[in-house]
Amino acid sequence: MPFTGKSGKFNAAIRTVEIGTGDKAVKLGGENVLPFYTFDAPIENAPKIGVLITDMGLENEVAGIKDYYAGATTFAEIAKKAEEMPGADFVVLRFEGADPNGENRSVEDCVAIAKEVGDAITAPLVIEGCKNVEKDAELFSKVAEALQGKNVLILSAREENYKAVAAAAGLAYGQKVGAESAVDINLAKQLNVLIGQLGVDQANVVMNVGSAAAGYGFEYVVSTMDRVKAAALAQGDVQLQMPIMTPVADEAWNVKEAMASEADMPEWGSQEERGIDMEVETAAAVLASGSNAVILKHPTSVATISKLIKALV
């Protein structure tokens, strides 16, 4: 008697959100099963990988990343290389330097960089801010305006600035809106409701429900995503059926395991290897928990996670 498993296919599905334009546009979401459960029903849109570049250039990156971008000096050149990275589906430009407590790059300068990057690539573009809610609100509005027609994803609107960000990106300039909450499932839902009440079509919203590096409270990430998918698929909660995009690189490369020098931790071995494995293992775990896209930066991580996704879907 062969095994007869019950299908775990749901009646509800995650919404499909498309970012970018033309041949290289990517579709996120659309599945009616749990992550990688292709044995329940086919997954049409495999999870996607974004390659992170920042307005700070390459100076602080590890050797493997610098080597990959060797010869690229302008933002346009760096972005071009990022979109060509094997396994990459889209490019993520993060304005780390916009932080008023840091470099405090002006909004005008940021817009110029965004335009330079946007014009250089044909892959979809995702814009990340500096996490300062006031600065991001202004920055995102101006960038969304400058990149009209490119269908970029603005990552992201938060509880404190969603009105300005979602209204500009989602209503005025026709871009996709990211809704960000920090491992708080009730807020994740509420933010989606509020953005919807502004008039933004929910088919234009992607969620970032929060992330952590493996070992750093990652249980909250797993449970948040488990519960989001359960609500979206099993309970058919339309307010949580947005695809999820998770920035992994920032978290992964900023923990001790990835930052401690070989001089300080000789038994731990290569620092770059540690960073890659932290990025890869965190990415695999968030994909297994329900992310429809991850943001990575090291070429080896991108290649490996791409291989993992291809092997599973």
Partner: protein
């Protein structure tokens, strides 16, 4: 898993004879489901129905013990598919594979021992060795490998479908309760006899999920329910599908035949690609691997992996706590500034991570705060001026000369009280968020305040 009245009702004779004392079979079934009446009150239940019901009340997934002494591990026994539903109980165990055909067995054994460290009170190391039998090298070579491996203090998993080789290997290691991962559709009767004779857990494999199911069912029929299920190495997709479906069938659909722990050999699924193995071991840690086999284990792979496992297998009802004490960072010594926060593991990791990023030598003082976050601990009275000053007087003053203490910004209100209770100390209030600590400390240092 409580039985639903409907499941019981389906097994009743449905004659409404009232001999059980209930007016209808359905009412009877419902009372049984609630535990109000014994099933035996019904004189007309068939033997088959009674057997089905007793089977149905057994736990959905068996708890399997392997190894002995310090290397004894519990696998399986899970009751939920997601950790938030209740908790996961048995964390996956990691194994390194070695084959009797390998040239460098000693070196590989050393590799398997290399990673060994402590993280929040838990020893992190490779717990098992997965020893593969190579027919070309013969039984003796395998027995030699097993003997060598047996001295490592790790639980052995014998990857061996040859009955005679398995017998010979078990002869030298069975007392340490290894796993014999060797039953398949062609040999399961003999293998089961060997495993039962030696008193060890038997691993089952199949060409696909159906053969695995049939062989497992056949072994159960032989009376062997001390099993683990090898999900195979046909492909990543197949191994993942099998692992998930086994667990789901057991826990969600009460299919007892699949109610066993799993073995996943990611080393074989991504041979020669350690980074891909890192991705896979992470995937199977989140989704239902019980014994996960890799080709090796270095610190780069291990550091995120063991952290991930520790996180995912934390009981959601019990926060992870750090031991109270003084944690010097960046070469902090008796003259370095002190900072304090709560013992909630996540807070500790975030704060210590930021402090390390600042590069400023310091001492992080952790006191017992019930494993709660800063504001929660404060509200619950577990982070108070009394608790902080008492801990500092008893544990810090004898060891540290510096008399500057930085407290979390969220409990700035404690500043005055702590200063009153700790004569000679200057209390500095930190910013509200840990991420602001780097700049804060660097500024203090630049201004010569610390």
């Amino acid at each position: 898993m409580a039985l639903k009245g409907l499941d019981i009702f389906k097994l009743t004779p449905k004659t409404n004879c009232k001999e059980c004392g209930s007016p209808t079979c359905m009412a009877f079934a419902m009372k049984v489901a609630q535990g109000a009446v014994e099933l035996s009150k019904c004189p007309h239940m068939s033997e088959e129905a009674l057997a089905t019901l007793s089977e149905a009340t057994a736990p959905p997934m068996k708890t399997i013990k392997v190894g002995t002494g310090e290397a004894e591990y519990t696998l399986g026994g899970e009751t939920v598919l997601c950790r938030h539903e209740k908790t996961f109980v048995s964390k996956p165990r990691y194994a390194v594979s070695i084959c009797s055909a390998d040239e460098d067995i000693d070196a590989k054994l050393e590799v398997a021992k290399k990673v060994d460290y402590d993280r929040i009170g838990e020893r992190m190391h490779v717990e098992m060795l997965y020893l593969s039998y190579c027919a070309d090298k013969g039984v003796d070579a395998y027995v030699e490998l097993v003997k060598k491996a047996a001295d490592c203090g790790k639980t052995l998993v014998l990857d061996c479908t040859d009955v005679e080789a398995a017998k010979a290997a078990l002869a030298v290691c069975k007392d340490a309760k290894p796993v014999l991962d060797g039953a398949d559709a062609s040999n399961y009767e003999a293998m089961s006899a060997v495993a039962t004779e030696a008193g060890v857990v038997l691993g089952v494999r199949g060409a696909d999920i159906n053969e695995l199911y049939d062989t497992t069912a056949a072994l159960e029929k032989l009376g062997n329910k001390n099993l683990v299920l090898n999900v195979g190495t046909a492909s990543v997709k197949d191994a993942f599908a099998t692992t998930v479906q086994i667990r789901r069938a057991a826990l969600k659909d009460q299919n007892r035949t699949f109610g066993y722990p799993s073995i996943v050999n990611v080393g074989a699924l991504a041979a020669g690609d350690p980074t891909m193995q890192a991705a896979l071991v992470s995937l199977f840690t989140v989704k239902y691997g019980s014994i996960i086999v890799m080709e090796g284990m270095d610190y780069a792979q291990a550091l995120p992996l063991y952290g991930l496992r520790q996180n995912v297998f934390t009981d959601p009802q019990k926060p992870m706590k750090v031991e109270p004490g003084i944690y010097p960072l960046n070469g902090g010594d008796e003259n370095s500034v002190c900072l304090t926060t709560v013992d909630f593991a996540l807070t500790y990791f975030v704060v210590s991570g930021e402090l390390e990023r600042s590069g400023v030598p310091c001492n992080l003082i952790i006191n017992d705060a019930g494993g709660l976050s800063v504001l929660t601990a404060w509200a619950a009275g577990k982070l108070s001026s009394t608790s902080v000053s008492k801990f500092i007087q008893e544990n810090v003053e004898p060891k540290v000369k510096c008399r500057k203490l930085i407290i979390p910004g969220k409990v700035a209100v404690l500043k005055g009280d702590i200063e009153a209770k700790l004569p000679g100390w200057e209390v500095i209030v930190a910013p509200n968020e840990a991420v602001q600590l780097v700049k804060f400390l660097k500024d203090l240092q630049a201004n010569g305040e610390i």
